[in-house]
């Protein structure tokens, strides 16, 4: 029974490791972060289209924009804590700047 417990614990550890991202980011990981950033940006544009056509309630728009802001904040924090793998420093800096800009856009939108 003990060995079964250890096997499950090892599996849980593997899972935690799998779900967490290393704080040292290489080009591949940075490309993935770039995609997430682009996705948030594009989603904001989609939300703007929906607002322009009055296809969503104000409550929904406000709540959804807040979820997007939180997501961009988490992404900016994650990038802020990350270290770049050799050769990826400039890319990480660019991403950090873009993430901060996106978060600021969300904050400005919430203040409107």
């Amino acid at each position: 029974m003990k060995s079964v417990v250890w096997r499950w614990l090892a599996l849980a550890l593997l899972f935690v490791l799998g779900c967490s991202r290393s704080s040292v980011m290489d080009h591949e990981q940075l490309a993935s972060e770039r995609k997430q950033l682009h996705s948030l940006d594009a989603e904001t544009a989609l939300l703007d289209r929906i607002i322009a056509t009055k296809h969503a309630t104000p409550t929904f728009v406000h709540a959804h924009a807040e979820y997007l802001r939180r997501a961009s904040h988490e992404l900016a924090q994650q990038l802020g804590k990350a270290r770049a793998a050799p050769g990826a420093e400039a890319e990480l800096e660019r991403l950090r700047a873009d993430a901060t800009r996106l978060e600021e856009r969300f904050i400005a939108r919430m203040l409107l």
């Binding site: 899972f15 995609k35 996705s39 929904f60 959804h64 979820y67």
Partner: protein, 411 residues
Amino acid sequence: MKRIVQLTLGIMTALGGFVDLGQIVFTMQAGARFGYALLWTIGLGAIAIILYMEMCGRVAAVAHKPVFAVVRQHLGSRLGVLTLVGSNLLNLITCAAELGAIAIVLHLFFGINERIALLGGTLVLGAMVWLLRFQWIERTFGLSGLTMIVFAVAAWKLRPDWGAVAAGLVPRMPGHGSTDVLLYAYFAVGIFSALLMEYEVHFYSSGAIEEGWTAKDLPENTIVSTTGIVLGSLLTCALLILGAMVFLPDGIFPNQLSTTALPVALPMGKLALKVALLGILACVASAAVETALSAGYNVCQFCDIKWGKNIPPKEAPVFTALWVGTLIVALFIAITGIKPLTLVNFSIMFGMVMMPLTYYPILTSARDRTLMGEHATKNVQLILGWVFFGVIVIAAVAAFPLMILTHSGQP
């Protein structure tokens, strides 16, 4: 006439109760990432769940044995206990994810604080389960889930390329490097698992016993499980199509539950958005109730303790304490602020790992002639059952490695 009405209600309930949070998230994300290329997994999962749901309904009707009674019989006490613990842990995590999703939808709908929505939503849900009989629980949530049809209408209105949609029903590998192949496999396993989640068969089989099914009800079992799931799968296809049409062209990867309602708002406006939110609310509430009740069903069936939603709570104290306890613990998990989508990601992969332990006993019981007599599984269905069991085992082995390698499916 009464029979036809009952049958129609059964089909509509099965259709409305088929979609849950896991399906909404995984299918939309798959569409957003791979277009129509993963539609075939919905077909594959639908055939598998039709086969196994029909089997467990048949075993319940003929042998009057629910899923966990056959689990104990076929897996023995040690593996049986492991299955029971794993299944109930899965029910708990899924229930927490669904409760968290209820809070999000209520927040999107009324703007109320998420924590208050979580507490209020759970309280209302608990009261409904306490007060209603099994049939009414099933019908209330199942029928309100029919509002999800608005997603199918939105997909239709966006005029997809039906030729490309049909091509998606044929499996093919993506051609952009190993990361894409792994992600493709991860979403294939995720969609397959979401369609076959264990609590669905636990609930269905227990429901058959609650409603006193006998061999006379076998035609109803076949019609409801087949038609309800086929229609439910079409709805799931619509979610994937919306993901492919609305999100893929702009490079959006839907990581928020609120995002999944946007494809309805875009072509159809405010009213449709409200209906879509109602549909999501009904689906996640239904899944929360089913997982909480399944936790009670599983333990009582395994330990041979009196159970049932249609008997007074005093006469089934263990069962009542278990479903109420599951709802309360799930509420505590959800209130910690863990994202429902993170929980559902884990529950779907964990569910896949546990799946062979649930479906093997169903398969072997349904073909057992001493137990089932003339109603034992016949040749073609048995072969298909084993083929799909093989697919389930392969997917179960691949689930966690894929989750680790793809960082839970992040693009």
